[in-house]
Every structure is written in C-alpha cells, then in structure tokens.
C-alpha cells in the first residue's frame, strides 16, 4: 500500500491517503501501518470503518441515500427525541438532544431541547400508552424553537391524563 499524501509520520501517527494495486483508495489514520478509516474501490463503493460515521463525522451539506427508498434522496433527521414515564415518579428513560422534560401538571408536558431548532417550523410526532390502561391520544399545545408542549388525554373520559409510556420525536 503506497502512500500518496501523508499528514504526520509513521511514528507519531497522522492521516494518509494511500492506494494499492487493486485501485482502492484508502484514508488511513494512526501510526505504523495505521487503520483504514474510509476506503473507496474502483466501483465507487465506499466503506466506513466502525466508529467513523456517527461518532466523529459531520456533514454540512444535505445527506442523500437510497436504502430501499427507490432512489437517492435527501434524508431529514430526527433532531430530538425522548421516551419517558409520565406516571408516579416521572422520569426520562432515554433521550437525544433533550436536557429535560417539564411536568406542568396532569398529562401536561414540555420537552426542552439541548440544541434549539433553527426555527419553530419543525414537525413533531408523539405517542402514548399503554392501551391496556386507556385509549390515550395526545394533542399539541404550543412550541418554540427550543421547547415542545403537548398533553396526553384519556379518550374515554376526554380528560387530560398521565400515561406511563410517552414518546416524542422532532424532525427538521
């Protein structure tokens, strides 16, 4: 594998672009022989090593992919999400880009984003349950670029009600 461009050196590590006789282009990081982070073969198939995408990667442009959609098209990301228990000791089970939820009262919640959305014109989806307790629904109350408020409702009584399974996803 011959290095074409090297940043750093073989002892202190660094990054190199290298190729081999098969025509595959590799971006290699680390000292010595290094580890291939990204490789592109002659068919343009691109392979990312584990940990390259998702943990340290970022893209300033639009990301497009097919993955069964039918053609490569721009994909829009979930910018915040949360799964929490709205009964008893209200608690967040897991979340992303959420610093907290505010329990405003019975079945009345606000999701607080870590990093605000660019504006308030995002889309939100929420679900709640379980069905074995009551046929719940949830309704939008208000939103800003940094918060999203909604209520969970027991559709039999029509009253706002706590639900033990509540989840919200924000797409922008």
């Amino acid at each position: 594998m011959a290095n074409i461009i090297t940043a750093g050196n073989s002892t202190n590590g660094g990054t190199a672009i290298s190729t081999d006789t098969s025509g595959t282009l590799n971006i290699v990081t680390g000292s010595g022989a290094g580890a291939t982070a990204i490789s592109i073969d002659t068919s343009q198939a691109t392979t990312f090593a584990a940990g390259v995408s998702g943990t340290t990667g970022s893209f300033s442009g639009n990301m497009s992919f097919n993955s069964g959609y039918g053609s490569a098209a721009v994909a829009y990301g979930c910018r915040a999400w949360v799964n929490f228990n709205g009964t008893g000791t209200v608690a967040i089970r897991a979340s992303g880009n959420v610093t907290s939820i505010t329990d405003n009262g019975t079945g009345d919640y606000t999701v607080n984003f870590t990093t605000a959305m660019p504006d308030a014109n995002y889309s939100a989806t929420h679900g709640q349950g379980p069905r074995s307790v009551a046929p719940f629904c949830s309704v939008y109350v208000s939103n800003t670029s940094s918060t999203y408020s909604f209520q969970t409702i027991n559709t039999i009584t029509g009253a706002v009600a706590d639900a033990s399974i509540v989840f919200v996803a924000i797409v922008r």
Binding site: S95, I101, N112
Partner: protein
C-alpha cells in the same frame, strides 16, 4: 439523576423539571436553561416529589 427542579406556574400550580441523565449538563445548568426567565426555583430530591398524582393539578409551590 435524583434531583428535580420545581418552580411556580402562572396559574398557582407547580411545574417540575425532570432532567435527562445523559444530557451532559449539571442540574444547575439545566435550571439556568429550562426554568422560564424570571421564575424562582428550587432544586429538590426526587424523593421529595409525591408519586401519587391523583390531585397533581392541586399541587402548590412552597
């Protein structure tokens, strides 16, 4: 995180902020960010919050 942030609501009730454990902020930082501007607040132990919520809307900030 076994802490909660409480503050009074405009209608005389109390709001309770439940922190996300993995958000990377301290409870004080979450309070500074998520408590509405101008509201006084307290940081309390989760054990201080009642788990019986039948009369949740009658809770008051004290």
């Amino acid at each position: 995180m076994n802490k909660r942030i409480i503050y009074p609501t405009d209608d005389g009730g109390v709001a309770i902020i439940v922190p996300a454990v993995d958000c990377g902020l301290t409870i004080e930082q979450i309070a500074a960010k998520d408590v509405p501007a101008g509201k006084s607040y307290k940081i309390v132990d989760v054990a201080d919050i009642p788990t019986e919520r039948l009369f949740r809307n009658a809770w008051e900030y004290a």
